[in-house]
Symmetry: C2
Subunit: 605 residues, 2 copies
Amino acid sequence: MADNQETILLKIKEQGDLVRKLKAAKESNEKGRKKNLHYNLPEIDEWLREYSYICGYEPSCSDIDLFNGLGINIDFQKYKYIKRWWYHMRSFNDSEVSLFPKLDSPKVMQKVKDETLLDQQIQEEVAKLLALKAQLAPEDAAPQKFSLKTPKGTRDYNPQQMSLRNGVLDKIVAIFKRHGGECIDTPVFELKDVLTGKYGEDSKLIYDLKDQGGEILALRYDLTVPLARYLAMNKINTLKRYHIGKVYRRDNPAMTRGRYREFYQCDFDIAGQYDPMVPDAECLKVVTEILESLEIGQYVLKVNHRRLLDGMFEVCGVPADKFRTACSAVDKLDKSPWEEVRSEMINEKQISPDAADRIGEYVRLNGGVELVEKLLKDEKLSKTKAAVEGLEGVKLLLEYCELFGIKDKILFDLSLARGLDYYTGVIYEAVLTQPIKIGNEDQTVGSIAAGGRYDNLVGMFDSKHKQVPCVGLSIGVERIFSVMEAKLAAGVISVRTNDIDVYVASAQKNFLEERMKICAELWNAGIKTEQSYKKNPKMLNQLQHCEDNGIPIAVVLGESELKRGVVKVRNVTSRQEDEIPREKLVEELKARIAALSVKDVNGSA
Amino acid sequence: MADNQETILLKIKEQGDLVRKLKAAKESNEKGRKKNLHYNLPEIDEWLREYSYICGYEPSCSDIDLFNGLGINIDFQKYKYIKRWWYHMRSFNDSEVSLFPKLDSPKVMQKVKDETLLDQQIQEEVAKLLALKAQLAPEDAAPQKFSLKTPKGTRDYNPQQMSLRNGVLDKIVAIFKRHGGECIDTPVFELKDVLTGKYGEDSKLIYDLKDQGGEILALRYDLTVPLARYLAMNKINTLKRYHIGKVYRRDNPAMTRGRYREFYQCDFDIAGQYDPMVPDAECLKVVTEILESLEIGQYVLKVNHRRLLDGMFEVCGVPADKFRTACSAVDKLDKSPWEEVRSEMINEKQISPDAADRIGEYVRLNGGVELVEKLLKDEKLSKTKAAVEGLEGVKLLLEYCELFGIKDKILFDLSLARGLDYYTGVIYEAVLTQPIKIGNEDQTVGSIAAGGRYDNLVGMFDSKHKQVPCVGLSIGVERIFSVMEAKLAAGVISVRTNDIDVYVASAQKNFLEERMKICAELWNAGIKTEQSYKKNPKMLNQLQHCEDNGIPIAVVLGESELKRGVVKVRNVTSRQEDEIPREKLVEELKARIAALSVKDVNGSA
């Protein structure tokens, strides 16, 4: 790997020659003032690093223009994203190309004068030269040159965000445990075959791993399919489990609304053959407990039933093979008006206008038990097996919700459809009923929890077709984090990022050793303690650190006190200081910390 | 996506014809008793799914035999792993092929009679036929056909393993927080460029994501490089953070020893420009606190210094450009005897035998402050700047360790080298001093915590070359989990997988509604409660569930008691039952749970 000195010196010489040549070319260009225009290859390469095509996400005539304009003399070593695009473009045949739309070209297609390109190239080659020179003195290596960012649609969590996040997750886990949930975990990637055929149209959003020899893998898309694989693989028939983990979708991110390509899912599922709607109702109870403990705002928990939807489509005259596609159109009703959904049904899904209008009549209905009773008497629905099954299910569910004392949170809503293919029974979705201020604008946060029954998914993995009925829920924690982060930014809530109770400070120089001894003593007593890592920190800086980080107690060492066998203990907020005998320090600090935590519980959060 | 009925019926007809033809061919074969031998393509395809080559991980003559034997008439639609291998094989040129070794062929290369293949093919085609038929009745869809497993080198965690894991992580996090650690998180994948050039030889173990258009990504290999990227990107100069997350390495897994391809890292790092060895010594203190709180066994914490190693190599006559490679050879001393390491240095790393022997003299040394003093007087080392710097550093570190009261755990060991390129100062590694029983055998668990100082890593990401000095530690939690799981399997420790305190049971039929009301009341009071999801569960099954899951208290409903306004509360262990007024139930249960948790703290874990 590593070149020896001689090779590096040779390379430096060659690179130096190249830089000199380029500079000479620039000079001669400037003299001649030629107006040669060229594509800005470095910029185009950067662009194609992020986008698949010149106009973004679909091929267009601009791609063809560029392809023809570039010819074949491109330095593919240097422009690897152009290379990728180039070979991809070459794979289209003429009849495909003829269908490419004409779109507005982005700025990157503008040609530039030679000089600019030369300047860029000179800069690059000089950087290479410097990097080579740096190899001669390894401890002074040149920094790498690439954009410093997290991948598209992902983000780091800083300590504040982590405090918020862990606070939210702790509350959720406490409620999962209150209902007897056991925790499992699965790998972040699965064999690609496990994910294939589970997500319908959304399969294109799965992140594949590169084929590096060995198995073909993909990042998990949710936690439900891995659960089904786990149950089938281990032949488990009953399980009440929760699972909190990151999942991955190559969707178009809308990060301000809490939509990421890497995001947390927070799932609770009950697997097992039980009596109708008993576990289903408990899932709804769990959702209400969680949303109330998070104090996130007014919400309504919409419920519906896949069998009722099937029956409804049947009576409306939708052919059986279009039930799922009709479902995914209805699912868009939370974001789009009926007129748009209707036109999608008719124009894209080939559902007849009559059928669509009949669907329109049903999906505007919502209510409680009285609506169930009314629909059970509906002339058409009452004669359709699937619809009656669905309605009887919803009726029982609403009864159980009344027993659980959550009836006022539940809304039976025929427009609720849920996009996923695998649901077979009850489906539900919690939505906030008031917009939330995120950033500077009021935004409808939408669904913050959802789930349903899926009785056939596990059987898809079992060689003997054995089914394990399941019902579950997923909390939309990313949207909840977004809401909390907006509150944090607005100063409505505050968080501490560390838990330190005691800071060991010194008023004079040369107290590092004494501070270290006291720190060790406090740590060994389990007291959360910090000190400065400087030998002789300034007193003011030490106290400032306590105030900045919300550390409530400071132990202040001083020469005269230590001689008398005492130390000062300072209340950071009130600034009051008391002298405490050195040997009673641990005892005194523990008492003060205990008193603080009692105050915390009774006082503000 | 979905075929309509007509298309499916057509496909079923075609598939039925194919099956009939194959069966006829088999019959005629059996009559003729031909002895035609063929490669077993389905089995070879399965093999190449897992392995890159016929003999495993390197190409050999067997690959060439198969390549020539197969010819070009292979159904690549059907055998996709053979396809991958085939195109890969074709890419070798003759001079490369001539260097392939002759290795023993695995069983998969044995040819089989036509019949076997025919049988397999008939089975496959019949399965396809059944799958097609199943599409006619969607709710009865055929199960998918592929091996049901987690990807190589990964595993699921079941509830018992999760309880253990969360117990270990909770203890570790408590100690990180005791030292003021703040929590951050980063995405599981990074831009590939971020990881490039950070891991030396091990870069080949990075998992790349498939290029699906957009950025080029790879799974994180550790948590240290993402931390450095985070600090540089956000221009943060000081941070004391912990980070617990999974990392990914395409290494050869040894799962019984806790070596996986997906595994947890548990890191604590202190970034900032401070006085020498103050944060470094605290890292060592953190390691000792964690290992002691986990009660995992006797350990020693070895320390060394990269500058001392550099100085040592210098005085031994190793050229400067071979320091890192010499380091990675010395690093193997914990697993291999000196003779092997010496021979690697001489034969593979081109270090002269004289130099190797001089290194051998030094690396056998270990001890405490007295060894530092001795080496500071060493004729050669004392004249070498790097060595003196390293030795002064170790001396100061040992002094601070004495102040922290951990001197007896520390061993200054010149054979400790650490593989990673980026360390620049102190390095350390904790190893268990006694073998641990894992499975049925005593095994040396080896390193269970490690770390060091890396002052130049952040600068590699900063466009202005700005350095942020860092020191950190990583706890080898997977090895710790393995040890704990072995103890669990041996019955030395036990865990509960749920936290339920109260089970609501009924002695008679038709009590589901009453049970539901009581459950809701207990959940609303924050009591961890479960009930059966059956309408009329058997009493014995309900009590058995409590015993199997360690649930301490059962509330038993009966008709006569309810009429009298009381319920029975049963101590599951002692089987004693008391009648409690219905309206005092919550109060009574809370008191009993509080008493249990006090007993828990004082009693066994």
